[in-house]
């Protein structure tokens, strides 16, 4: 060991709707671990994964924790790249307007609020995967 750690590119791919299984919540926990180690973290929301970012989630009737607010705090942990696949939204009758507004404060631009959600075509997702050091799937 040299003691010098390299900053790696981590992509977390989320393909499942929240609450029915533990995948979405587990992904979020691992994302925060990656961010704590100051890695270059990106999130991808593909297929039913786009439902993780839906606005207005209310889990009070099903007895599980509503962790959807956590996505809005990701900016404070330097997690600022949430790629949502355009085709996955369209197939489900959704648009980006149906998702929570998620933003971060850019300290290099006088703390201007900037959107963290980036709608990406499938071809952009392919390029995103190809530039990663590590891909973790949930």
């Amino acid at each position: 060991m040299t003691g010098q750690s390299k900053r790696k590119k981590f992509l977390y791919i989320n393909r499942r709707a929240p609450h029915g299984t533990i995948y979405a919540l587990e992904s979020l926990e691992v994302v925060l671990i990656g961010a704590a180690f100051e890695q270059d973290v990106s999130l991808a929301f593909i297929d039913d994964g786009v439902y993780q970012l839906m606005a207005g989630q209310d889990t009070s009737g099903i007895g599980v924790k509503n962790f959807s607010k956590t996505y809005r705090a990701l900016g404070d942990y330097e997690v600022r790249k949430l790629y949502v696949e355009r085709e996955s939204l369209a197939e489900r009758g959704l648009t980006v307007e149906d998702l929570m507004p998620i933003s971060f404060e850019d300290e290099e631009d006088d703390y201007a609020e900037k959107p963290s959600i980036l709608v990406a075509d499938r071809s952009e997702m392919v390029r995103l995967i190809a530039e990663q050091d590590v891909v973790l799937s949930f």
Partner: protein, 102 residues
Amino acid sequence: MPTLHTVNKSPYERSSLRSCLDHLAEGDSVLMMEDAVVGARRGGKFVEVLKAARPSCTVSVLAPDLAARGMKADDLAEGIALVDYGGFVDLAVANARVCAWL
């Protein structure tokens, strides 16, 4: 450097094979393992889907999983390779990253 994509669910039950094939880059490899091997059988409805995936990509099936489900190399659709556990390791080494489609 290309990506190794692994799929472990039957395409008759889940959409993960479809999603995987929709996200391939030039020169990537696909490994069908566990229940996914059922999608590689000759005459099945996913054979055309696999053939239509990027021509520059290779598709392999993990042999012990195929055998466990009562199939042999002859049962595989044309153009699909059979690899053992050593071949799985070779694929992992030959690619820069592994992307699992769960």
